[in-house]
């Protein structure tokens, strides 16, 4: 009956918060990486092309150097041949002829060399062009491939994510529904049992009490042992009436139905003051008498639970209950001057129960407590 406020381990709690959607963050990272990769490839192929160009430049210079060197060597060898002709004192004609022939040969050789160099240059340029084209095509292709792949990956992630999110939302909604139904069922059951106890058991005992009272009044001259017996019957019946009444009140305070929320809270405060070491002060402002039953029960149970905790765990000396209704919402506050606790680490079932009830009505619950500084429970409910 009272088990819902018993302590439980922290990790048994139902997960309360849905994780934020991490998708935009992941997307951001993936796109950054893709962009960096693309940049890397472009840079790499550009550098490769530069390197190729540089190489070609070197090759050309080397070729020129070789050409110049070879021409010089050739000239020297021709001059040697001419000198040798002079030394042999040959005819002028033959000299002239020889010179002409030599120069023709030289020109032909030069032409050949020029042609060769030209061809090699053209070939080198062709090579450079094709290598540039290749690297551009390669980088473009890999870029597109990368973009495609990452898009695919992102879409897949997104799909998975939204699937999981929907699943989470659904199961959370189901859980909420279930616990709402549980709270409702608990309240209905309590009311039923309380009504039954009060109406049937309580009233029957009450009638018995009235009868016994009349019996004892009708026996003024009876023997003392009979009078004692009747007196004993009366006190037994009184005790039974009292305990049934207390039980019924604990299950569902009749004040909530008879007198409304404020009176029920005041009664509860006095009841706690009577039966514990905590003196409770109840204040209320502007609280409408015609609050819906859901609200009355929620606020009543919340205050009951908070006071219960103050009495059982906090060693408080005074507690204060304040209920205030303003435009559109009701604020409930229960504070005590007890030893406090760490609400992040110690969460009993009772607190879960409070949260559940408050959330059902679209409200919020905050528990402010520090070791040695008392506890304040605040709830805001939209009306």
């Amino acid at each position: 009956m009272c088990g819902w406020w018993d302590k439980v381990d922290d990790n048994k709690g139902v997960p309360r918060e849905t994780p934020d959607q991490p998708l935009p963050r992941a997307l951001h990272w993936v796109l950054t990486i893709v962009f960096l990769c693309l940049l890397g490839i472009m840079l790499g192929s550009g550098l490769a092309a530069l390197h190729d160009l540089d190489q070609m430049h070197d090759a050309e210079r080397a070729a020129r150097r070789v050409l110049a060197y070879r021409s010089e060597q050739e000239m020297l060898s021709q001059l040697d041949a001419i000198r040798r002709l002079f030394e042999r004192n040959d005819l002028l004609d033959s000299l002239e002829l020889e010179i002409l022939r030599q120069s023709d040969e030289l020109r032909a050789w030069n032409d050949r060399q020029l042609q060769l160099t030209d061809q090699s240059m053209v070939a080198q340029f062709a090579q450079l062009q094709s290598s540039l084209t290749r690297s551009i095509v390669l980088s473009l292709a890999s870029g597109f491939l990368l973009i495609g792949a990452s898009m695919l990956y992102i879409f897949r992630l997104e799909g998975q994510m939204s699937g999981r999110y929907a699943e989470l939302a659904r199961s959370r909604a189901e859980l909420e529904q279930l616990s709402a139904r549980l709270v409702e069922a608990q309240e209905t059951e309590r009311r039923k049992i309380s009504r039954e106890l009060h109406d049937e058991v309580g009233q029957t005992l009450g009638a018995l009490l009235v009868d016994v009272g009349r019996l004892s009044a009708a026996l003024p001259d009876a023997r003392p042992e009979i009078k004692n017996q009747v007196g004993h019957m009366k006190s037994v019946a009184e005790r039974a009436v009292q305990s049934v009444r207390n039980l019924a009140l604990l299950l569902r305070p009749g004040m909530l139905d008879d007198l409304g929320l404020v009176a029920a809270l005041e009664w509860q405060g006095r009841e706690v003051s009577r039966n514990s070491h905590v003196e409770v002060d109840v204040e209320s402002e502007n609280v409408a008498e015609d609050l819906p039953d859901d609200y009355k029960v929620t606020i009543y149970r919340l205050v009951q639970e908070a006071l219960n905790n103050a009495v059982r765990h906090s060693a408080a000396r005074t507690a204060r209950v304040r209920v205030e209704q303003t435009d559109g919402h009701i604020a409930v506050m229960v504070s005590d001057d007890g030893q406090g606790f760490d609400p992040q680490r110690q969460r009993g079932l009772g607190i879960l129960g409070m949260e559940e009830r408050v959330r059902r009505l679209g409200g919020t619950l905050a528990i402010d407590s520090h070791a040695g500084q008392g506890t304040t429970v605040r709830a805001e409910l939209p009306v």
Binding site: H198, D199, G202, Q203, T204, G206, A207, L209, V210, D211, G213, R214, A217, E238, V241, R245, G254, M255, D257, D258, L259, A263, A264, E266, W267, R270, E271, S273, R274, E279, R317, T318
Partner: protein, 216 residues
């Protein structure tokens, strides 16, 4: 001799039967009728015009306190004796605010019912002794725990006299007559009493008197 006409309102047959027996035992009482819920009690009070209604607080359809308020509005000459299981001041105060004259706990109803009905018919207050006891215990405990002072000590002897008479149900004029004062003086005393005791209404004043054992 004219008999007091009593209407009994309780949703439980057994309790009603018990009440009927007690009322029937008194030679000067007669049971005018019996109602099973608050709505019926209001309707029967209008048609049967009883002198006193004995009413259970917790009844279906319309609870006893609301029924009391309606009866007192429609027929101020009909007095109400409230029957309850609760000695809590929340109930007592609200019953008084609704216009009830007497407040009886069901446990002791058979012993005190006749006295309560007679007192109510005379326009006087009556409370089960246990009610005063519970209220006093609550009051003393609160004083002890919070260290507040007992406001009763602030009243002058004359104010205490006026407090008792007002709490018993007397009008300012009655009080003035029996104390040989002017109505104006009595009104001034009343205002000072309310101010010193920090009370807002006559029902609160009656509750205070019951708690202090000034009236029962």
């Amino acid at each position: 001799m004219k008999k007091l006409r009593v209407l009994l309102a309780d949703d439980h047959n057994l309790i009603r039967a018990g009440l009927r027996l007690v009322v029937a035992q008194q030679p000067d009482f007669v049971v005018a009728g019996e109602a099973e819920n608050g709505r019926q009690a209001v309707a029967m009070a209008e048609t049967l015009a009883p002198d006193v209604v004995v009413m259970d607080v917790g009844m279906p359809e319309l609870n006893g306190i609301e029924a009391c308020r309606q009866i007192r509005e429609k027929r101020p000459e009909t007095e109400v004796v409230m029957l309850s299981m609760h000695s809590d001041e929340g109930y007592v105060l609200r019953a008084l605010k609704a216009g009830a004259r007497a407040y009886l706990l069901k446990d002791s109803a058979e012993a005190d019912l006749a006295r309560a009905i007679r007192a109510a018919a005379d326009g006087k207050s009556f409370f089960s002794p246990a009610v005063g006891k519970v209220l006093l215990e609550d009051y003393i405990r609160k004083l002890e725990r919070t260290g507040a002072e007992d406001t009763y000590e602030l009243l002058s002897p004359r104010e205490r006299e006026v407090l008792q008479m007002v709490a018993e149900g007397k009008s300012s004029k009655d009080v003035a007559n029996s104390l040989n004062l002017s109505v104006y003086t009595v009104e001034t005393h009343r205002a000072k009493i309310m101010q010193k005791l920090k009370l807002k209404s006559v029902p609160e004043l009656i509750l205070y008197a019951v708690r202090k054992g000034i009236i029962a």
